[in-house]
């Protein structure tokens, strides 16, 4: 009896979580006639919506922009975060407290406060409406969390390994590059992917900082596409939404295990 109730509840959750996704997939695969009828399963599945989406909303340009920004953000974040995270994990300085406090602060303040001055600063540098400006902003906002994640991974590396390097006469940077970094590879990959997903999904800064249609990112294009939502466009909209989700789902699938296990160990220690 109790088991049966548990399965019933689980089935409800699966339906609640899964149905919208199935609906999206179904809509993307429907042909024009079927879109009007509103059934879940497409009777004559077609991929024409995907082609439609790519042509109409100019998804290729937007995806290219998103990719450039996401890659740039990730590169910048890793270059800045690796040495800083190493220092924060290995040296006891007041910086460490400040950095960890900033991680929390960066997570809780309303972005509207920061985006207005940023808009003004970037305008002075002529970086509004520029992918470089957006990359910079994404990097700065991904940095605190990347620092935090990397610190955790670095702390897990035994110090003895480094001490050996120091004894052999290698300098700090040398130790970092040739001893710590290779051991840190899985953590670096996870941090990189998390940063990429954040940038790929980010909407607010892009909305405020980018106006030029040639420079819009994928979430922006799709959000504008919704405004034009009409009977004929439903399928294309769904197809576009699916296409835009695929990269972050793939990244996410790749780091999922690591993310969840990090979470579990964090909870155990906290």
């Amino acid at each position: 009896m109790r088991r049966a109730l548990q399965y019933l509840a689980l089935a409800c959750y699966v339906a609640f979580l899964g149905f919208p996704l199935l609906w999206l997939l179904g809509t993307a695969l429907k042909d024009r006639g079927e879109l009007a009828t509103g059934g879940l399963v497409p009777l004559s599945p077609t991929f024409e919506n995907f082609g439609d989406a790519v042509r109409r909303a100019d998804l290729v340009t937007a995806a290219g922009n998103s990719l450039v920004v996401a890659l740039g953000t990730t590169a910048l974040v890793l270059v800045l975060a690796l040495p800083a995270a190493y220092a924060l994990a290995r040296f006891r300085t007041r910086l460490k407290v400040a950095a960890n406090a900033w991680v929390l602060v960066s997570q809780v303040f309303p972005v509207i406060l920061v985006v207005l001055p940023l808009f003004l600063i970037l305008r002075q540098f002529r970086l509004v409406d520029s992918l470089v400006g957006l990359t910079l902003v994404h990097a700065v906002y991904a940095l605190p969390f990347a620092l935090w994640m990397l610190q955790g991974y670095i702390s897990a590396i035994p110090r003895d390994v480094e001490e050996a390097g120091v004894v052999d006469g290698a300098g700090r940077v040398r130790v970092l590059v040739s001893i710590v970094a290779p051991l840190l590879a899985p953590g670096l990959v996870a941090t990189a992917m998390f940063t990429m997903i954040s940038s790929w999904n980010e909407f607010f800064f892009a909305l405020v900082l980018i106006q030029d249609p040639a420079k819009v990112t994928l979430p922006l294009t799709l959000a504008r596409f919704v405004g034009a939502e009409g009977q004929v466009q439903l399928g294309a909209l769904a197809a576009g939404a699916l296409l835009a989700t695929v990269p972050s789902l793939l990244f996410f699938a790749a780091i999922q295990r690591r993310l969840v296990s990090g979470l579990l160990s964090g909870a155990v220690k906290g």
Partner: protein, 299 residues
């Protein structure tokens, strides 16, 4: 920029040995390259943004602004739209957080039990986490479309005065539940099984064990995740912006949407920042509550 769960559980553990003077000086060149851009593009704008709330900054006027004291705040207090968005923001943040917590705890308990379908639920529980909020909004708009959507009856759920707010709340729960669930699941797995067994031996039923073993064991995680959820929900923007843009008739005008409109539709940077300042005060209040809870559970 991204919600991150791991931080709810506290700073990464690490106890370095006492450092030498030489080492401390060594840290700076490594940290500085990261520190400078954060200071310039994050700390400084935040402080400046908080200050803008006390000025008459407008779009086009650049950084040359006049200090106007509490004028913006006085105007906020007499602005009906402010009060309604404030009220809607609280209703939204509290309902989403509570529902997210109740549903998330239920799902976490199920995922912790040895059931057959749980791998599917576990996978599904993670998917919304990776989806851009804009895509989640688009998906639900397609689903709730009155003409071609999934629900019968032709109700325009997102477009009717009476259903718009409840509809965006349900969607908010869908989008935010994964994080809550996974965090609670992580918390559940830290609870010592032998406590449950001991309670069972003493004749405690499922409810009593939940009440006296599970809940107390989860306490720190519950306080952390609900506080952060509350703050995140209060600050949320993208999902509802794409779902309804605050409509119909302002029924879903969250504080961040109000501030966005003030700044980028009407160019009132100072006024928008004042709304941001109000949010900061609320958030700091929640944080103090959170820290107090953390301290209490630590002692």
């Amino acid at each position: 920029m991204t919600r991150a769960v791991e931080r709810v559980t506290g700073a990464p553990p690490d106890r370095p040995p006492p450092p030498t003077r030489r080492r401390r000086a060594d840290a700076w060149p490594l940290v500085l390259p990261a520190l400078l851009p954060v200071a310039l593009f994050s700390v400084y704008p935040l402080v400046q943004g908080m200050y803008l709330g006390f000025t008459d900054a407008r779009a086009g006027r650049g950084v040359v602004t006049r200090f106007t004291g509490f004028d913006n705040f006085a105007r906020l207090l007499s602005d009906e739209l402010f009060w309604s968005s404030f009220r809607i923001g609280i209703v939204w943040a509290v309902s989403v957080t509570v529902l997210q917590f109740v549903a998330g705890l239920g799902l976490a308990l199920l995922l912790d039990a040895p059931l057959r379908l749980r791998w599917l639920a576990r996978t599904l529980a993670l998917v919304p986490w990776a989806m851009p909020p804009v895509i989640i909004a688009i998906m639900w708009r397609l689903l709730l479309n009155p003409n071609h959507g999934a629900l019968p009856g032709g109700v325009n759920w997102l477009g009717e005065f009476s259903t718009a707010l409840p509809a965006v709340i349900v969607i908010g729960v869908w989008a935010g539940m994964p994080q809550t669930t996974i965090t609670l699941l992580a918390g559940l797995q830290t609870i010592d099984r032998s406590l449950h067994e001991a309670a069972a031996v003493d004749g405690a039923g499922a409810w009593l064990r939940f009440r006296h073993v599970t809940l107390p064991g989860l306490r720190p995680v519950i306080i952390a995740i609900t506080t952060l959820d509350l703050i995140w929900n209060l600050n949320s923007f993208a999902l509802v912006y794409v779902l309804t843009a605050g409509g119909p008739g302002g029924q879903t005008m969250l504080p961040m949407l109000f501030a966005y409109n003030a700044a980028f539709r009407y160019g009132e940077f100072g006024y928008a920042s004042a709304m941001g300042d109000v949010l900061v005060v609320l958030v700091v209040g929640f944080l103090l509550f959170y820290l107090r809870g953390q301290l209490r559970s630590a002692s």
